[in-house]
Symmetry: C2
Subunit: 215 residues, 2 copies
């Protein structure tokens, strides 16, 4: 028997609103902290995975702090070109910020090979030399989070925010627990899940919350 | 009580191998079809989500067909810059292929607004004008898949492969069921899950399988 596929008739401008309505409905009675709500829902929107209602961990007051940093032109550092591509660079630029990703840099590759460490590790060291205030959006490499932890502990960097959402199986869980011990504001997806898309989505959620507050 | 975080000592070159060992172990007794195995495992590797062991659907003989197309220089079309960023362009170029994404093109934005359709819809029409053989990697917009279905039915395009893995809540499930009814080879993540990362990862899995076969 041929089953007919019934498409819902939703105008392009309304698709995102409708998606968030469905997410809100499916979350049901569950109350999310007001300041974290849009971030959590956007992670679910990006992944269709309701685990993000449970696994996201926020340090005290981190959302306001991060939004303030972005409003003052904080730059973003990512550990993948994918996360870089996913961040809304137009919204960021309006606030004076830029996105950096050093993963494809030749000098990073050379140094990583020389030291037998990951390119992500070396990228974080390169980022530590940047001027101005920084937000790290780490969606892939636990080794980036581990190196960030060390650089923070050594007092060599003072991030405005570390988004710690690497995905995977080797040292991913541990690297997230480690960064939550560091003296830094954080948003972390506890456990194995995360990804470059989640890292970008959390940055975008912060940027859109700034626009919403202003409109 | 302070809990010490214990990092596993794995060399950078061994991280991916170790991840796949863990995935294989956790899949346990489960047997995956030989030709699909690396694709399924890479999707789990990319997402840390074992749902991909169940939700991926492959049309008959699609993996061999797709690998043949790539070996003959097929080009890739994505529906996001993120998916484009995630595809291993060096491996693809070695085979003679390129990645196109028309989502940020000014003419696409103008036409989408004019017609009150999504940019993804218009992007697919623009892709239909490309010469040569094409693989579509759709990780975001169900409207891209719906438009592809129509273009295939109208005989205006004949893709070598449609990777149908949009993520989300509005017409996502339906668009995937629809594309599986089209006369086209497909790899689809049934249900709500997917993403630009998954779209890129399936392309990369095919590319790496070609390199493995050759080495």
């Amino acid at each position: 028997m041929e089953v007919k596929v019934e498409l819902e008739n939703v105008r392009p401008v309304d698709i995102e609103k409708r998606s968030f309505e469905i997410i809100t409905r499916e979350l049901g009675e569950r109350k999310l902290p007001k300041d974290q709500e849009l971030i959590i829902k956007r992670c679910i929107h990006t992944s269709a995975d309701f685990d993000y209602a449970d696994n996201l961990c926020f340090s005290d007051g981190v959302v306001k702090k991060a939004m303030d940093a972005l409003k003052h032109g904080a730059n973003i550092v990512t550990d993948t070109q994918m996360a870089r591509a996913g961040i809304n660079k137009r919204s960021l630029k309006r606030l004076g910020g830029e996105v950096y990703c050093f993963m494809s840099d030749e000098d990073v590759a050379v140094k990583a090979k020389e030291l037998d460490v990951t390119r992500a590790h070396v990228s974080m060291e390169k980022a530590a030399c940047l001027e101005g205030s920084l937000i790290f959006a780490i969606g892939n490499a636990p080794t980036a989070l581990v190196r960030l932890y060390e650089l923070i502990e050594e007092g060599r960097i003072h991030p405005e925010l570390v988004i710690g959402v690497p995905v995977g199986f080797v040292n991913v869980v541990q690297s997230k627990e480690l960064i939550m011990k560091a003296d830094t504001p954080y948003i972390v997806a506890r456990g194995r899940k995360g990804g470059s898309n989640i890292a970008a989505c959390i940055v975008n959620a912060l940027l859109y919350q700034i626009s919403n507050d202003r409109s």
